[in-house]
Symmetry: C2
């Protein structure tokens, strides 16, 4: 699935919800054990429960990498359960020199057939280009993140007067079209979102930080909306850990539906 | 193995050579096939051939991740073959928000018991702290890299007059002591190395880019030497692909010995 197809799905469903599968084996709900079989079952249940409300799934590779080789088998089986009607993202934040970046691109676009992968910008163009070379895939580059540490470097002021993340956004945007390139912009940075939308009016933003990290759908939509919606809001803990009791599936379903309703309201308000 | 033990090994061997195991299945020498058994055999042969000349090994995870779950089994078996007399580095360049960074730290320091891992700085302190929390392990943060793309963001000038990478080096250095924190500084940036050495006089530098990327041991040593050597020079392709014929083991051994001799010469010149 590419960005154009994702956009059609967003308009059809009146939802720009991405569910983050950051499955921590230590936090599985009642009745499930810390083993690959149960983790896969949990992920599949989360996908099934949210399929109607969500348009995308984001697999945070770190949680699976910590399980060793079997974690990658869980990634593979989870990814296989995401239907082609939904956009799949490997949240891996890779970044390295060209020949190594090419291996990472191959990992996520060929070995595992994700639609998209997140990439770190620090090392510059040749660390990002190998991902962009897959023109039917989507590269999602870190812009301004939702964590406290974003203040340490991302928000530093350059001699040009711009902030580093602003320079990253505009420079990287010149390397790839809105058809194949998105940016990560944290929901906790709603004030900055409006400014970012002006800097890169055409590109989709993947917005984490709604829910557990404190951002709200309404604020994000108001600040980040553009002509083709241009937003993909990720919620991880707020959906998959909506309950740690036996009702975890219905709770996840209800949580995702709640986010979809907030997004539908934003649609009606902003799309007119 | 920690940095103090690594330093002792460097002094004993008069070598600060790290061999990079960036094993590309498409580039295996004559007689070896693209399968896990042969890749492991190749890696073990490269370790055995260079054990006397090298003090450290760096496994570039990208090349193994591209093989899927079995790639991680190759990492595990390769790592198990590195003796405790040698320093082991996962070149993974991870970087994410705190709870995710903690999973990456667990991956490389617990699931796989590497001595060190490379980390990207873009997302700031909470993306690095979970690695530093392992006080007997070493965190290696990207400073100034050896690729062309380093000019895109790393070398941008800040309003303070400093370059971004200079700010990254000094800020991150304030978060961790030279006993547990190193920085990646590319050998192709020899002119910058001298300046970097003044900014962070006490920290070890992991220096890639010698050999295939064009840097030289002599220049790196002259510019980056500090009281405890403070240098770990990585060579990947220049050692493991020294020959693609049947003599690949003796060629790798000879290449590593050649680098060790250059390092010994630098020792005699600089250590007095």
């Amino acid at each position: 699935m590419n960005i154009q197809q994702l956009t059609a799905s967003i308009y059809q469903k009146r939802s720009f919800l991405c569910v983050g599968l950051d499955t921590d084996p230590a936090k599985l709900p009642a009745g499930l054990q810390d083993n690959p079989k149960d983790i896969i079952a949990f992920n599949k249940a989360m996908i099934d429960a949210t399929l109607e409300s969500a348009v995308a799934y984001k697999i945070n590779t770190a949680f699976y990498e910590a399980m060793g080789a079997q974690g990658w088998e869980i990634i593979e089986q989870t990814l296989a359960h995401i239907p082609p009607t939904h956009f799949s993202i490997a949240d891996a934040k890779r970044g390295d020199i060209g020949n190594t970046a090419a291996q990472y691109a191959r990992t996520f676009f060929e070995t595992y057939q994700f639609d998209a992968v997140t990439v770190a910008p620090y090392m510059g163009r040749d660390s990002i280009q190998p991902f962009l070379d897959y023109q039917d895939k989507t590269t999602i580059v870190l812009g301004l993140t939702s964590n406290k540490g974003a203040a340490d470097f991302e928000q530093l002021e350059l001699s040009s007067g711009k902030k580093l993340y602003e320079q990253v956004l505009t420079t990287v945007a010149s390397w790839g079209s809105p058809d194949q390139l998105m940016f990560v912009v944290g929901a906790t940075q709603a004030a900055a979102l409006k400014n970012i939308r002006q800097l890169i009016p055409g590109h989709f933003l993947l917005v984490p930080g709604v829910g557990a990290q404190g951002g709200s759908v309404e604020e994000v939509a108001a600040a980040g909306w553009t002509t083709n919606c241009g937003l993909l809001v990720n919620v991880s803990r707020g959906v998959i850990y909506a309950s740690n009791g036996e009702d975890y599936i219905t709770a996840a379903k209800a949580a995702a539906q709640g986010y979809q309703r907030q997004m539908q309201a934003a649609f009606e308000k902003l799309q007119g």
